[in-house]
Subunit: 229 residues, 2 copies
């Protein structure tokens, strides 16, 4: 960590860090999109792609990004505002990695769905996934542009995704009550809805970290008192 | 942030930080324990206690701990090993906060369970919760004592918890298939199992961060290459 010569300026390194984080975010979007397609189209090869290639690359990037952050902190002794940004990046990397895990959960449900007969979809999981991915894109955009308003829009979208999940749960409970043969398939769909909800929660977390960083106040829990004594 | 005189030594402040983190961990354990009791004993007051008191206090502590970490980073310019510890603390605080959210999810399922008649428990959720809390305690212990072996034991316990969740899912799918009137209650129990599994995942995450910090290598994803170029 401390044997490398410092050739790049702090700003160059920050720019690189942002680029890597965006790349990681793009991989997470792709993992979410592909894992859902794998499950709903019962495509085992696509599921394997998420589990064997995309998610390991996401994990590798978290390690790389942590390392870049720690190096910048150690060698550049950044000012308070940059330090706060770097702390936000550590948390965002953590959230992105968890989102990758959740995509893997979805992909790993594919074999269970493969055993079931194909049926008309009763719930709109692709819409929920698209909304979660849109939240992620907005949260990362907000991080790159210091866009507090954009970040706040992510917080609002989370309520919408929670509403989608509730509607999906209600529908699936009805289906299972009416048709016992649909129980296993419905439980798999419930799990996907739950994983998508958690993915949206992590996007919300990222948006909260952006607001925390930009405003220097903490909106995460509507708590804006001063620092501890 | 920078108007306060520095009276305490770096080590005193680190000690305080550790104490606050342990206190936060204790609150999370309490939230997990109480939320499950609230759900299974259909105790709305206990559920409200988690939602209205314990979780907000957990949230407040994350903000406080972040602030302490940023202050230490900015004012004390810690060495690489301490910096790595402080970065780990930021991530651990994040994980503890998410665990509080998941406990709230469990507590908020209580009203749904309240509408259902009481029945003999078919799955052992308290055992799963106890195991998840034990993982959390071990992970925080490992953080305080630099106990890498203890941290590794948490990683192993996570597989066990995943196994419990799978067994619970299988049982509940059987119950719902046999008895349609049990669907709604079973879905609520499935949700609790899923939340407990995520709580255990976060404890695992903390253990991984401890190993990362102590060993200075990253075992999070069995990835131990050098730093990026």
């Amino acid at each position: 960590m401390d044997t490398q010569p410092i050739r790049k300026t702090f700003n160059q390194q920050l720019t690189e860090l942002r680029e890597r984080l965006l790349y990681m975010g793009g991989l997470v979007e792709s993992a979410v999109h592909r894992s859902l397609r794998a499950a709903l189209e019962r495509d085992a090869a696509l599921a394997d792609d998420v589990v064997d290639h995309i998610e390991p690359e996401i994990n590798r990037l978290e390690v790389e990004i942590d390392d870049r952050v720690l190096r910048l902190m150690a060698l550049q002794q950044p000012m308070a505002v940059d330090l706060r940004f770097l702390a936000a990046v550590l948390k965002v990397g953590n959230d992105l990695e968890r989102m990758g895990d959740l995509a893997v959960n979805i992909a790993q449900g594919t074999p269970r769905l493969l055993r079931q007969p194909l049926a008309a979809p009763v719930v709109d999981l692709p819409l929920m996934a698209a909304r979660a991915n849109q939240m992620l894109r907005s949260a990362l955009d907000a991080l790159m542009t210091e866009g507090v308003d954009l970040a706040r829009s992510v917080l609002a979208a989370d309520d919408e995704v929670d509403g989608m999940r509730d509607a999906i749960f209600r529908t699936l409970i009805e289906v299972m009550t009416r048709e016992p043969s649909e129980v296993e398939r419905s439980v798999a769909l419930l799990s996907i809805a739950r994983n998508l909800e958690r993915i949206a929660d992590h996007a919300t977390n990222i948006a909260e970290d952006v607001i925390f960083w930009v405003e220097g106040v903490d909106v995460r829990h509507h708590f804006a008192e001063g620092p501890p004594a």
